[in-house]
C-alpha cells in the first residue's frame, strides 16, 4: 500500500507529463488507454489551479506578478497604513471566493471590515475569519507567533485556496522557524498565503514581495457647488522580491470607493495621465474646499 500511496502523492504535486502510472503491472495492451483515463483524473485537480497562480482581477497587477501570486507560496504585500495594501489583498480574496474556493483571513488587530470587504466582491460566507482579543496574550507566545500558528492550523486543515495573514500596523518581528513552518504548510496544502504588513516579515521564505504606496487621494465634485466626494486612491505597486520571475517592475493600480464611473473623474484622470514611475516624489494631494 505504501508504494501506491507514494505514487499517488507524487501525482498530485508534479506536473502532468511526469505523472507516474498508478498500476505499473497492467498488461501492455491495456496500459495506454487506462493511463490516459487516470492522468485525466489527476489533471482534474490541476484544472482548478490555473497554472498554480491566483489572479487578483486587476490587469496591471497580474501582469506585474506574472499572472498572479503563486499558490503554495507566501506572498507579501508591504505598505504603510493607508497605502492600499488591504484593498489589494481583498482583490485576491475576491478572486479566490469567486472561483468557489474557501479562504481564511487571520486578523491580528481586528481591522477586518466586512462591509467594505464584501463590497470589494468577496463572498464573506467563504471567508473564515480569525482574530485575537486585544491586550497581551497570557502566555509567553507573542501575538505574531499566535497569528502564524493560526495560519498554520488553517493550512494544515487543507482545502483553502487562500490564507490572508494581516499582521496589523505595528507588528513585532517573527521567528524564522515560524515563517518556515508556514511556508512548508503552504507548500503542502497548495494554498496561496498573502501576508499584509508594514514591512517585510517572512524574509527568505516569501516567494514574492510587493511594496505598495499611495500616490494620490482623489476628492472631486459632480459640479461646482456640489458636495465634495472621496473617490479613492491611486496606488503604485512595485515588486521588491520575486523568486518566480523578475523583480523591480512597477504598476499603477486604482482603488475606488464605489463603482460609479462618472464619480471617478479625478481618479480616472490620474490613471489616464499615468504617474512618472521613476519619480520619488508623489504628487501633492489636491485640496477641495466646500463653497
Amino acid at each position: 500500500m505504501a508504494p501506491m500511496a507514494a505514487a499517488i502523492t507524487a501525482a498530485w504535486t508534479e506536473p502532468a507529463p511526469s505523472i507516474q502510472p498508478v498500476r505499473p503491472a497492467l498488461p501492455e495492451s491495456a496500459r495506454k488507454p487506462q493511463l490516459i483515463e487516470l492522468s485525466g483524473v489527476f489533471r482534474g485537480r490541476e484544472f482548478t489551479r490555473k497554472d498554480r497562480r491566483l489572479t487578483s482581477g486587476l490587469a496591471p497587477l497580474d501582469a506585474l506578478l506574472g499572472g498572479g501570486i503563486a499558490r503554495g507560496r507566501i506572498s507579501e504585500i508591504i505598505g504603510n497604513p493607508g497605502s492600499g495594501r488591504t484593498s489589494i489583498a481583498a482583490a485576491f480574496a475576491a478572486s479566490a471566493t469567486d472561483h468557489g474556493e474557501a479562504a481564511a483571513w487571520v486578523d491580528a488587530s481586528g481591522a477586518f471590515d466586512p462591509a467594505s470587504i464584501a463590497a470589494a466582491g468577496v463572498d464573506l460566507g467563504r471567508i473564515l475569519w480569525a482574530s485575537f482579543p486585544r491586550g497581551e496574550p497570557a502566555r509567553p507566545a507573542t501575538r505574531e507567533g499566535r497569528v502564524l500558528k493560526a495560519a498554520e492550523l488553517v493550512l494544515e486543515a487543507g482545502g483553502f485556496g487562500l490564507v490572508v495573514v494581516d499582521f496589523g500596523d505595528t507588528p513585532r518581528a517573527i521567528l524564522e522557524s515560524a515563517a518556515l513552518r508556514v511556508a512548508r504548510a503552504a507548500e503542502r496544502s497548495g494554498a496561496a498565503v498573502v501576508v499584509i504588513a508594514p514591512r517585510r516579515m517572512c524574509g527568505t521564505f516569501a516567494a514574492q514581495s510587493l511594496v505598495v504606496h499611495r500616490i494620490d487621494a482623489s476628492f472631486s465634485r459632480f459640479a461646482a457647488g456640489a458636495p465634495v466626494i472621496f473617490d479613492g486612491l491611486t496606488l503604485e505597486a512595485a515588486v521588491a522580491r520575486n523568486k518566480l520571475g523578475g523583480a523591480g517592475g512597477r504598476a499603477i493600480v486604482g482603488a475606488t470607493i464605489d463603482a460609479v464611473p462618472s464619480r471617478r473623474g479625478g481618479l480616472d484622470a490620474a490613471l489616464r495621465a499615468g504617474c512618472p514611475l521613476g519619480s520619488n516624489e508623489p504628487p501633492s494631494l489636491r485640496r477641495q474646499t466646500q463653497s
Binding site: 489572479t55 482581477g57 505598505g79 492600499g84 472561483h99 477586518f112 471590515d113 486543515a157 486612491l233 482603488a255
Partner: protein
C-alpha cells in the same frame, strides 16, 4: 420469535473503578464502606479473587492474604458513567435498549439477522464495543430477558437457541445464581444445598406452594424462574440526549497541569462513546466539585463540534485559565452535547474544499487559540450602525460548478481598479478635531496628529430613533445615534473615516482607507 441479548459486567463496581482509572487494572483491589480493619469487603477484583479474597471478609482478613490489597470506597459517579457507557455501547448495536441493574443492559435483536451472519458474530461484536468503552462483558442471547440474563451469568458468550430454553434451565447450576450474595440469599443457598438441589431444573419439579411456605417469596420466584420465567417485555429507554462522565478524586487538585492529566481520559471516554453512536461533541458543560461541598459549573461553547480530544482539552484549559475555580477540585463531571457530524461529498473537478471533519477540528483549535468569539464568518449586521457586526458559524457553501464546464473567471475582463476597502478601528478612537471655516482643519488623538488636507462630508447617519423617547434616554442614557461622517485626507498620508456624534458632540475615528 423475540431474541433478546443481555450484556452483563460482573463485579460492576470494580469494573467501573478500573474504567475510570486504568492503572488499577490487574491490581489487588477491593471496595468497602469503611477503611477500618473490621469493615467487610463489598466487592473484590478478579486478581484479589484469585488470591482467595471474597466479599464478606474483613479488611484485616484480606490483608492477611495479601499485603498489596488496595481498599477504596464506592464511586457512584464512576458507576453511573460506566452504566451509561454500557447502554451507549448497546445502543450502537440495537436501537431498543433497556438498562437494568448497574452493569446489566438488555437489547432487542429484532432485525439484527440482516446485519450479522449469526448471533455468535453479533455477540462478539457486542463484546468488542463494550471493550471500547472500557469494560469486559459477558453476553447471553435467548428468547426472554430473564433467560438471557441467566445465560450471561454463566460468563463469556452463551446463546440459547430457540426451543432449548427448558434444557438450559434444567442444566443451570444453582451456583450461577449467586444466591449467597445477600444475607438472606446465603440462608437460601444453604437450605437448597441441604435438600440436595444442585440445578435449577431440580427446583422446577417442586410444588411452588410448598416451596413458598418453606422458603418464602424468594423461593417462589426461583421456582417460577426454573419453569421459564415470565415473558416481561423490553422497555426501551429514550435516546440519550447528553453524554456525561464523572469521577471523584482521592485528593483535591489545585493546579491546571494536574487537571489536564485527569480530564484527558474523561474526554477520551466520552469521545469513544460518541464515536460508537456516530456523533460528535458540541458544547461542553463542566461541573467541578470544590472543597467545602461547593459546585462550580460553567458552559464552554465549541465553535465547531468535533471529536478532537486535544482541541476540547485546550478549550477547557483556556476556560480554567481565564476563570480558575475558587478552591481545590475534588470531583469532575463533564457533559457534552451530542451533535450529528456534517456530511459532505467532494468533486474531483471542482476547487478543493475543506473536509468537514477536519474543518470542525480546525475551527475548534482556532477557537482555543483565539477565543470562541473570535472565529467564524464575520458579517455586517442589518443596521444603520456601521460598526454593527455579527459572527456566524463558519459553514462555507460547496464549491459551485463552473458554468458550461469552463472556469468561472474564463473570459471575464480584468479591470484596472480595485475596490477600496477600509481597515476598521474597533472600538472607535476618540479624537480632537479643530474646525475652522466650517470644516475640520486638524485632527489630534492617540497616535494621530495631522492637518486635514482634503475633506469630504458631512454625511448624516442616524438610527434607533425609538430610543430617544425611552426611559433610558430620559435618564441620560443612549438616545439612539446621530452622527456626521467625514472622509479626511491628512498630511500623514492616510485617509480616515471620522464621525462627530451629535448627541455628545465628540469626534471619533473608526476606520482608515487602505
Amino acid at each position: 420469535m423475540d431474541r433478546i441479548a443481555c450484556i452483563l459486567v460482573t463485579d460492576f463496581s470494580i469494573a467501573a473503578l478500573v474504567r475510570a482509572n486504568p492503572a488499577l487494572d490487574g491490581a489487588v483491589l477491593a471496595i468497602s464502606h469503611s477503611l477500618a480493619p473490621h469493615a467487610e469487603l463489598v466487592a473484590v477484583s478478579p486478581r484479589a479473587r484469585t488470591l482467595g479474597m471474597r466479599p464478606g471478609m474483613t479488611i484485616a482478613q484480606a490483608r492477611a492474604i495479601s499485603s498489596e490489597l488496595a481498599v477504596t470506597a464506592h464511586s457512584p459517579a464512576a458507576e453511573r458513567s460506566a452504566h451509561d457507557a454500557l447502554a451507549d455501547a448497546a445502543e450502537s448495536v440495537s436501537p431498543v435498549v433497556e438498562p437494568g441493574a448497574p452493569g446489566c443492559v438488555w437489547l432487542d435483536l429484532a432485525g439484527m439477522e440482516r446485519i450479522h451472519a449469526s448471533e455468535a458474530e453479533l455477540a462478539s461484536e457486542i463484546v468488542r464495543r463494550v471493550r471500547r468503552v472500557g469494560m469486559e462483558a459477558a453476553v447471553g442471547i435467548a428468547a426472554g430477558k430473564e433467560i438471557a440474563h441467566l445465560a450471561a451469568r454463566c460468563g463469556g458468550i452463551r446463546i440459547i437457541e430457540p426451543g432449548m430454553e427448558r434444557q438450559f434451565l434444567d442444566w443451570l447450576p444453582l451456583d450461577a445464581l449467586n444466591l449467597g450474595a445477600s444475607e438472606r440469599g446465603g440462608d437460601l443457598e444453604m437450605t437448597l444445598a441441604r435438600w440436595g438441589l444442585r440445578r435449577l431444573g431440580d427446583l422446577a419439579r417442586l410444588d411452588p406452594d410448598a416451596i413458598g411456605s418453606r422458603l418464602g417469596r424468594r423461593g417462589v420466584e426461583l421456582v417460577r424462574l426454573a419453569r421459564g420465567g415470565s415473558p416481561a417485555p423490553l422497555v426501551a429507554r429514550p435516546h440519550a440526549e447528553a453524554f456525561a462522565e464523572a469521577i471523584e478524586l482521592e485528593y483535591g487538585i489545585d493546579n491546571l497541569e494536574a487537571m489536564g492529566f485527569v480530564v484527558r481520559p474523561i474526554f477520551e471516554r466520552l469521545v469513544e462513546r460518541l464515536e460508537l453512536r456516530g456523533l460528535v461533541a458540541g458544547d461542553i458543560m463542566l461541573a467541578l466539585g470544590l472543597c467545602g461541598h461547593r459546585i462550580a459549573s460553567r458552559r464552554i461553547a465549541v465553535a465547531a463540534p468535533s471529536n478532537d480530544v486535544r482541541a476540547m482539552l485546550t478549550l477547557l484549559t483556556l476556560s480554567l485559565e481565564s476563570n480558575p475555580p475558587a478552591a481545590a477540585v475534588e470531583s469532575i463531571r463533564i457533559e457534552v452535547q451530542p451533535r450529528i457530524p456534517r456530511p459532505a461529498q467532494s468533486d474531483m473537478f471542482l476547487p478543493p474544499a475543506p473536509a468537514p471533519d477536519r474543518l470542525q477540528t480546525t475551527i475548534a483549535r482556532l477557537a482555543a487559540l483565539c477565543g470562541p468569539g473570535n472565529v467564524g464568518a464575520l458579517m455586517p449586521q442589518n443596521s444603520h450602525r456601521p460598526e454593527a457586526l455579527r459572527l456566524d458559524p463558519y459553514d462555507p457553501p460547496p464549491p459551485a460548478p463552473p458554468s458550461n464546464g469552463a472556469h468561472p473567471r474564463n473570459g471575464a475582463a480584468a479591470s484596472n481598479a480595485a475596490r477600496l476597502v477600509m481597515r476598521a478601528i474597533r472600538p472607535a478612537i476618540e479624537v480632537e478635531v479643530m474646525c475652522l471655516r466650517g470644516g475640520p482643519e486638524f485632527v489630534r488623538g492617540a497616535n494621530l496628529g495631522a492637518r486635514v488636507v482634503s475633506c469630504a462630508g458631512p454625511w448624516r447617519r442616524d438610527g434607533e430613533w425609538w430610543k430617544r423617547a425611552s426611559e433610558e434616554a430620559r435618564l441620560g442614557g443612549a438616545a439612539g445615534f446621530v452622527r456626521d461622517y467625514y472622509e479626511l485626507a491628512l498630511d500623514d498620508g492616510g485617509v480616515y473615516r471620522v464621525f462627530r456624534d451629535i448627541n455628545s458632540d465628540r469626534w471619533f475615528v473608526d476606520g482608515v482607507y487602505d
